[in-house]
Symmetry: C3
Subunit: 206 residues, 3 copies
Amino acid sequence: MFYFTIEILGTISFAISGVLTAMNKRLDPFGIFIVAFVTALGGGTLRDLLLGVGPVTWLVDTTYMYVIMISVVFAVAFREKIKYLRKSLFLFDTLGIGLYTVVGVEKGVAAGLTPVMCVALGTITASFGGVIRDILCNEIPIIFRKEVYATACIAGGVFYFVLKAFPIEKDLVFALPILVVIVIRLLAVRFKLSLPTVYRSEKDPN
Amino acid sequence: MFYFTIEILGTISFAISGVLTAMNKRLDPFGIFIVAFVTALGGGTLRDLLLGVGPVTWLVDTTYMYVIMISVVFAVAFREKIKYLRKSLFLFDTLGIGLYTVVGVEKGVAAGLTPVMCVALGTITASFGGVIRDILCNEIPIIFRKEVYATACIAGGVFYFVLKAFPIEKDLVFALPILVVIVIRLLAVRFKLSLPTVYRSEKDPN
Amino acid sequence: MFYFTIEILGTISFAISGVLTAMNKRLDPFGIFIVAFVTALGGGTLRDLLLGVGPVTWLVDTTYMYVIMISVVFAVAFREKIKYLRKSLFLFDTLGIGLYTVVGVEKGVAAGLTPVMCVALGTITASFGGVIRDILCNEIPIIFRKEVYATACIAGGVFYFVLKAFPIEKDLVFALPILVVIVIRLLAVRFKLSLPTVYRSEKDPN
């Protein structure tokens, strides 16, 4: 029940982030809804497709669709006020990323994958919704350019397997990595950290 | 047989719409073919992937590939004349949307999904080919911006379940929603209706 | 073992091509890694999804992930020198395309598909990694615009079925089409061949 609440908060904040991006691009209500939807559920959908698990979760459990519909209506109706919620939304978003990461990691474990691949699945679950959102809005994905976002997911995923190597209670193995993702992301935003970009010093037609 | 004819007409008109978009972007013949292909079959492919049904239909039934190949050759050869066909193409396209919607809805019903999700699947089937076409051509999808297109699909899908609640003949439950999609789309284009865009009055870095 | 070596060389060269594209777009290290990854494995992933085969290969065999990680570190570290490797990389790339094509064709054969669809699968395997790379980098896919690339794959795939119609040794049916892809691609680049673009002579709002 506790995790379900986090998951719903995460879905809401991801959906609202989609609404804000879509409104900046002046999409119509249908476009706004679709962008909100893929932002919230695109990462988990890609994970399920790669695992060959079908039908994907949101087709079977209509709750997600309703939560996103309500989030979209709310975000559009209060679009002028939403900036006052920015801190709460960022918090929900960060909670969501942490939870999505560990959920993805555990789906990989359940499928018998190696730890490296489980961490990859967790990162995909938490971050590819935003990637698809940016592609639909004709932007280079923001997490490829300037956020310590995937890095936090990877760290959380690695920490999950570190904990698993010790005789630690299962609930803590689930909860502590979420905390790691959250702390790294909060610190990164607090100190405006981002990964450096790398490019070549000379123009080269290759 | 009747529905098969509509499906082929829909495939042809979707493929030709892909050819026209691709030629505007000055793609080479391979690019034109791929864009035509995903426009015609991308929606149904995404639907099958989400349902976890594989291999996807067009891999198993080569007819679609041949129909698209012929449509592409035709559209490229007669590219200067195709504007005279614009009304016929629009009609085929509208028929195709209607049929694809109801086909998608019924696939959802067969998979035991809730009505909301069946309507979503129908809309995806009918409209995501165009979404992928626009992404491949580096445009924000047109149906997110200015067409009453998905709206018509959603209305048709809802009407399907309204009819199903009554003791109506199965053929009519299939055919009447197609008609609803067609009528809404024709009216929308006739009266230049489109969904309003929503955006915030002030620039906001969020 | 021999084919495994080619496959790894192909993976390396595809990954490095992703790194170069991503650095031109000034992505951060995470973005560079993801673009390298999808360039190398995107085509095979799409093929597996369309076939309904899951989990996809690279989730189960972690080798690919490690090869790509090392390639990315190498390419980023030696980014100023990589132009001196251009010829070797082009050769690896061409080998990779040839092999990926025939691997894709044979997966289609194993799934009982028609020859046309097997050729399509082979072409998807060899060329859609680059398509996804360009979409992530917000470009119209280069193979839709100016390279005889897919054409070489298609020719190789067709040649596979020509050979199969004769009583030829299985190893040759596998190896000779790879050679065909390589020769066509080398000739095309040597003589700067590309498919002509087609467009309409007049502006037309259709």
